[in-house]
Homo-oligomer: 387 residues x 2
C-alpha cells in the first residue's frame, strides 16, 4: 500500500427533508449568497425549501451557472459577492453549480487574476466558506476539493483543487433528484463509474481493502443504475445511487493506490472542443483506453472482470476483452454511447488535435505510469472514431 494522507471535513446531511438542517449549519445573520443554475430548483420545490431554511440569514442570489461553468459567468458572481460582502456561499444544484461555486469561493479573496488558479495553478490561500445542496448525483463535488471550470471563448476546460473549497456541509436529499431527466441520471451513473475506475484500474498495490471498496461501488452502480433509471421515485434505489456517487470521488478509495485520470483529461478536451457532456466523453474514451493500455493494466483488468463481472473462463486475453466489453455494454444499456463516431461534427483530425492540446498543457505523460502519451491518446480516440 502506498503512503497516503486522507482528510475530508465535509459534513454529509443525507436523507429526506435534510434541507431543513441547513438552518443549524449557518449562524444567524450570515450574509449568504445562494448560487444555482438554470432554475429547475424553482419548479421542483428545492428553492423554496432552501429559502425556508435560510430565514435566519441575509440571502443574496446568483442564478444562471451553466453546465461546464463558464469563467465569465462566475466572475459576475465574484463581483456580486465582493460588492455585497457575502460571508457564505450555498451552491444549490449539480456538479457544475458546485464546481462553479468553489471557484467563486476561491476567487473572491484572490489577489490578481483568478483565472490563474486554474490555468497556472496559482495557490489558493483562502476561500469564502461554502456549503451545498446537491440535486444531481454524479461528480462527487459535494464532498471533495476539486472543481472544473470552462472558458469557452478560448476552448479551455481546466481543473483546480484546494483544501479551502471542501464544502463545510452538503445536503443530499435523494427526493430532490426524482425529477431529473433520465439523460442526466445516466450520465451521473457513468461519471461515478469512471471515477472509480480511474482510482482502481491501474496496477495492484496490495491495497486489498480499497480494491474491495472500489469493486463494491462498481457492483452497486451496476445493480442500482438501471433500477433508478427505470423507476426514478424508488427512494431506496435513488438514495443508494446518490451515496454511491459521493463515495466514488470523496478521496477514500484513492487512498494508498496508484491513480490514472487519463480518461478524464482526454474527455475534458472533447467537451472543450465539441461540448459533449462530461460523462459521455468518459464513455467514449474509457473502454478504448483500457484496450490500448491493456498490457499495463492486465492484472487489474483480470481482477475487475472476475470480481465485478464474474468472468472466470477463457484465456487472459479473452477475459480482459470480455471485461471491457461488459463495461461498454453497461454504458450502452444506460443509453450512453461508447463510440466518438456516434457524435456529429467530430472532425477526423480530433485524435491528433487532442494529443497536441494535451501535450501543450504539459500532459504528455498521463496514466498511472505516465505511459499514456500522445501516440496512445491518438490511438484511443482513433479507435473510438472508427467503429
Amino acid at each position: 500500500m502506498l503512503n497516503f494522507e486522507f482528510w475530508n471535513p465535509t459534513k454529509i446531511l443525507f436523507g429526506k427533508g435534510q434541507i431543513a438542517s441547513i438552518s443549524r449549519e449557518i449562524p444567524a445573520g450570515t450574509r449568504v449568497l445562494v448560487t444555482y443554475g438554470g432554475g429547475s430548483i424553482r419548479s421542483n420545490g428545492v428553492y423554496d425549501q432552501v429559502m425556508a431554511a435560510l430565514k435566519h440569514c441575509a440571502v443574496l442570489e446568483f442564478g444562471g451557472i451553466q453546465p461546464n461553468p463558464e469563467y465569465r459567468t462566475l466572475m459576475e458572481a465574484v463581483r456580486l459577492a465582493r460588492a455585497e460582502k457575502a460571508e457564505f456561499l450555498l451552491a444549490v444544484g449539480g456538479g457544475s453549480v458546485l464546481d462553479g461555486t468553489k471557484f467563486i469561493a476561491a476567487a473572491i479573496p484572490f489577489e490578481g487574476e483568478p483565472w490563474d488558479i486554474v490555468e497556472k495553478g496559482a495557490e489558493v490561500k483562502s476561500a469564502v466558506p461554502l456549503g451545498s445542496v446537491l440535486t444531481l448525483p454524479a461528480t462527487g463535488s459535494e464532498a471533495n476539493p476539486y472543481a472544473v471550470i470552462s472558458r469557452s471563448e478560448r476552448g479551455e476546460k481546466l481543473a483546480f483543487s484546494s483544501r479551502h473549497v471542501y464544502p463545510k456541509f452538503s445536503v443530499l436529499d435523494p427526493e430532490t433528484t426524482f425529477t431529473l431527466p433520465p439523460r442526466q441520471v445516466a450520465n451521473g451513473i457513468v461519471d461515478a463509474y469512471v471515477h472509480v475506475m480511474e482510482q482502481y484500474l491501474t496496477f495492484p498495490a496490495h491495497a486489498e481493502l480499497n480494491d474491495r471498496f472500489a469493486e463494491s461501488i462498481l457492483s452497486t452502480l451496476i445493480e442500482t443504475g438501471p433500477k433508478t433509471l427505470a423507476d426514478p421515485k424508488d427512494y431506496d434505489a435513488r438514495a443508494t445511487f446518490v451515496w454511491t456517487a459521493t463515495m466514488a470521488l470523496n478521496g477514500l478509495i484513492g487512498c494508498g493506490v496508484p491513480q490514472d485520470w487519463a480518461t478524464h483529461m482526454i474527455g475534458h478536451e472533447l467537451t472543450a472542443l465539441y461540448g459533449i457532456d462530461h460523462a459521455r466523453t468518459l464513455a467514449v474514451v474509457a473502454p478504448h483506453l483500457y484496450r490500448v493500455m491493456k498490457r499495463d493494466k492486465a492484472a487489474k483488468l483480470l481482477q475487475y472482470g472476475e470480481r465485478v463481472w464474474g468472468i472466470r473462463e477463457g484465456t487472459e486475453e479473452e477475459r480482459i476483452e470480455a471485461a471491457i466489453r461488459r463495461t461498454e455494454e453497461f454504458f450502452e444499456s444506460l443509453g450512453v454511447p461508447t463510440r466518438l463516431a456516434r457524435y456529429e461534427g467530430v472532425k477526423p483530425e480530433t485524435p491528433k488535435l487532442v494529443a497536441e492540446r494535451l501535450e501543450k498543457r504539459g500532459m504528455a505523460k498521463l496514466g498511472e505510469r505516465g505511459a499514456v502519451g500522445p501516440a496512445a491518446v491518438e490511438e484511443i480516440l482513433a479507435r473510438s472514431l472508427a467503429a
Copy 2:
C-alpha cells in the same frame, strides 16, 4: 436507507515514516502533553520518532495509562495538564491510550466532576485538541469520537462520545506495530470484525453500498488477519489490517443502517467484572447472541453467510448455523476463545448478574430493535458458559 449525518474531520497520515509529519500538524511553540501507556514505545523506537517530530514544541509527558484506562490515572493527567496549561494532547499508543486521552481532553475544561461525562452523559462543551500516533490497530479510536473509561474500584466500564474529541490527526505507521505481541494483534482483528458486525448484522435497510463496504472489511479481515499474525513484518498485510481496523469504526459503514452494539455492552460488563480483554469478551458474546437473536437477524445472517463465507447450500436454518460456526472457527483460529467457559473464575451466576447490571444502567433494551433484554442477555451468556 435511513437518514444520516456523517462527519469525520480526522486527518489520517498513513504509512512508513509518517510520524515525522506531526511537525507540520502542530504549530511551533505549542505546549504538547504526550500521553502513553506502559512504555513499549520507548523500546520500539516510536518514542524517539515522536520526540524528534516535536522538537519545535514544548513537550510534557504522562505515561502509565493502562489497558481499560482508569479514571483515577486519567485525572492525574488532567491535573498535570491544567497545571502546565497544555494546549494540545498527543496520544501515543493503542485504543486505551487514545480513549484515555480523549477523556483527559474533555475533562480539562470541564466544570464539575468529569466522571459525570461517562456516568451521566454530561455534555462536553469543549475539549483540548488532540492528535494520535496509533501503535495498536483495533478500536478505531484514532478516527472516531468514542472513548471507553473504567473505574475499577466501582466495577464500572462506561463509554462517552463527543464531536470535540475527534483527533485532529492520527498517524498510522504500520511499521510501529510490527513488535506487538500476537495476542494483541489477534484481539485487534476480532475487535475490528465485531465492530463491523454491530453495524451490519441487523436487518436489511436497503443500504446496498454500505452493506458491501461492511462485507469488504469482513472479507479483508478474514484474508489478512491470519497473514499478518503469521508474518508480523509483512508490511502490506499489516498495512491492510491497520487501515481495515480504522475503517471498521470511523462512522462510515454505520451510515444509513440500523445498528446493534449489544455485544459490546454485554462485553463491557465482562471486562468490568473479570478483566477479560475487550476483544475476547466480544468473541464469547457475539456468536451466542447471533444464535439467540437469529429470528430477528435471519435475513442478514443469510446474506452474511453467502457473501462473506460463500455459504449457498442447505436450508435457511442450516445456512445460518454454518455462518455462525464459520465466525466462531475464524475467531478460534486466531487463538481467541468463543466460550466464556474457557476463562477461569467466571461465576456461574454471571448471566443473571450481567443482565441485572445492564438493566440498572437503563440498558434493558439492547440491539437494533431493542429486543436484547435481560432474558436474552442471560441466555446468551448461559450458552457461552455452558459449552
